[in-house]
Amino acid sequence: MKMTITAALACTTAMFGVVASAETMTIGITQNNVGVDSYQTTYERAFIAAAEANPDVNAIVLDAGGDVARQLAQMEDLIQQQVDAIIIWPTNGEAVIPAVRRAHSAGIPVVVTNSNIAEQGFDFIAAFSGPDNVTQGSRSAEIMCERFTELGIQDEARVVQISGQPGYTTAIERQQGFDERLPEVCPNVTLVETQPGNWNRERSQQVMEAFLIQYDDIDGVYAGDDNMGVGALNAARAAGREGITFVGATNFAVGYDAMAEGDYWGSIYQSPVDDAEAALQTAIDVLNGEEVPFLNYFDTPKITQDNMGDFTKPVF
């Protein structure tokens, strides 16, 4: 049971009554869908580790399993348990707003992590902590454009896109960032088609197989994350198609390896450990009354074959 330390703390708290609550803060987190990929799992681990390392923090860690209804129920539970702060990784950036408002009116500050909620809800949250997914999409577009320019095909290249799970904010924002930025930097590159790969390597591989059949000429593939990017890469390898520039996001270990092998061009370096620690720190800062920027983006730099030496291999 990973809760042993905090559980012991909780017992003491319970025994000595509310005296301790002035110093210890109980922070609840409801995650989107742990176990769907390594990123979220690593995030959860990092979060728990960070919470355990901090003697002032009790953490209640919940997982919505990708289900909005379950996440709203968890929000209610956390409000009901009168936690000091709530961190939420939204399953749906809009659907959670009323629940966030409820926490807000119950006097519980809410920090949104990883993937932001819609603007209507900004009044009710203390801060957002996480990557800027739109920027990530733009950066991926820039990486791709720069590569095309290097290769000298910036005026004729044709690109396909494999997006994340339909409906998820991160997927939507990255696609948006990419779709908007690409024509700005490389106006003559054609985005031929976009199909969802559902954050799923296998699914992405199937989609790519169909693209390869459908289009003789594919110069670049943008995938919503490296998991899907590698799926697409596998499809291209199997079909014996070379010379395609693969750009992803959320650099996974598989993507890093593929880059090292020279098959995969670039991605966005995003550490779930940074993500989790930033979220926890933001919540702690908010509780301590410190000034925090409202949009607390942590940096997610571009990573390509050229500069990958500057980055350690992702652990997930």
Partner: protein, 333 residues
């Protein structure tokens, strides 16, 4: 006969005993393992339990009558999603916007109508083609989900209307709006299944379809009514839930059918049909939500929750079988 009745009592009471056991377990375990200093059996928490049971609960109640019929509906998750899309999207139609707050009941109406229509499509296919409901709804689970995507691509459909949210969040006598809808559905369906002609016919059909046909019960239209009912309830569940959340992802409601069936089976309804009760299903729904809540309360992780729910379902089935056994003299087939 006395034996039979006492077994019946055990079977129908079993789910409540199980709920009681869960409460005791989580109260004690929560004392040691929980981070929160709030008691698990806090009244506020129990009221929340009822509210949180509503989305799956309302669907599961409708599933009960379908399963009493000896049918099954796998498409409820997709109906749930499409009704939600209609609810939220219709609020942004120009003429609806012009209506102001009067658009809200109308939007509810559109969403409910969507559910009823989709249910009617299932029912009509089952009735007219004679294909098993399992296959019909397995296929329409895909088809309706396709309609959800067709409506708004992969984008979520959103319309955060604070009037609607306030209504959904309102508490009357301590119970949330969703709880009232759940309770209302329980009362109505309990009444329908135990007191009305339609409800009694549902049992008769599930028990002995041929007999029902011979007795002049029009089985086809009966099925269709029930599929419309569950379509309505799936839409009602969506309407209640999305009034509060204001945004629907096209993937929402996936696997709801499996949770609903799990709840119904835990509540003692037989898959073969002809036997089951609305109150039992309510127990099943509460038992599942309690389990989720409780496991979250004591800090169990996702994989434990999945493992425990799966194994409990099998254990319940096993116990049910042990109860219905006739003992050593039974024919070994």
């Amino acid at each position: 006969m006395a034996m039979h009745n006492s077994k019946d009592m055990i079977k129908q009471g079993g789910i409540w005993v199980f709920i009681l056991a869960e409460l005791v377990f989580f109260s004690i375990a929560g004392h040691y393992w929980s981070v929160s200093n709030q008691a698990f059996m806090d009244p506020g928490n129990m009221l929340l339990l009822l509210k949180q049971s509503a989305p799956i609960g309302i669907i599961a109640l409708g599933m009960t009558i379908i399963m009493i019929n000896g049918n099954i509906d796998l498409s409820v998750g997709a109906i749930f999603a499409l009704s939600a899309v209609v609810l939220l999207d219709s609020l942004s139609w120009p003429f609806m916007v012009a209506l102001g707050d009067w658009a809200l009941p109308l939007a509810w109406g559109f969403a409910l109508l969507t559910g009823v229509t989709l249910g009617a499509i299932n029912g009509l296919i089952v009735w007219k083609t004679g294909i098993d409901a399992f296959i019909v709804t397995l296929a329409s689970m895909l088809g309706f989900r396709g309609l959800v995507f067709m409506y708004n691509g992969e984008q979520p459909t959103s319309n955060l209307n604070w009037t609607l949210v306030d209504f959904a969040e309102a508490q009357v006598l301590g119970l949330h709006t969703a709880s009232w809808f759940l309770i209302g559905t329980v009362v109505v369906l309990w009444f329908v299944t135990t007191r009305t002609n339609h409800g009694r016919n549902a049992y008769a059909i599930g028990n002995n379809r041929e007999a029902a046909v011979n007795a002049g019960i029009r089985v086809g239209p009966h099925f269709m009514w029930n599929f419309m009912l569950i379509g309505f309830l799936a839409a009602l569940s969506a309407v209640v839930f999305y009034s509060e959340s204001g945004s629907v992802n096209p993937n929402d409601g996936m696997l709801y059918e499996l949770w609903a069936i799990t709840a119904v089976v835990l509540g003692g309804t037989k898959l073969a049909g002809g036997y089951g009760s609305i109150i039992g299903t309510l127990g099943g729904v509460i038992a599942i939500q309690l389990l989720r809540k409780g496991l979250g309360h004591i800090g169990a992780d996702t994989q434990t929750v999945n493992l425990v729910i799966g194994l409990i379902l099998i254990a319940v089935l096993f116990l049910d079988r042990q109860l219905t056994r006739k003992g050593k003299e039974e024919l070994k087939i």
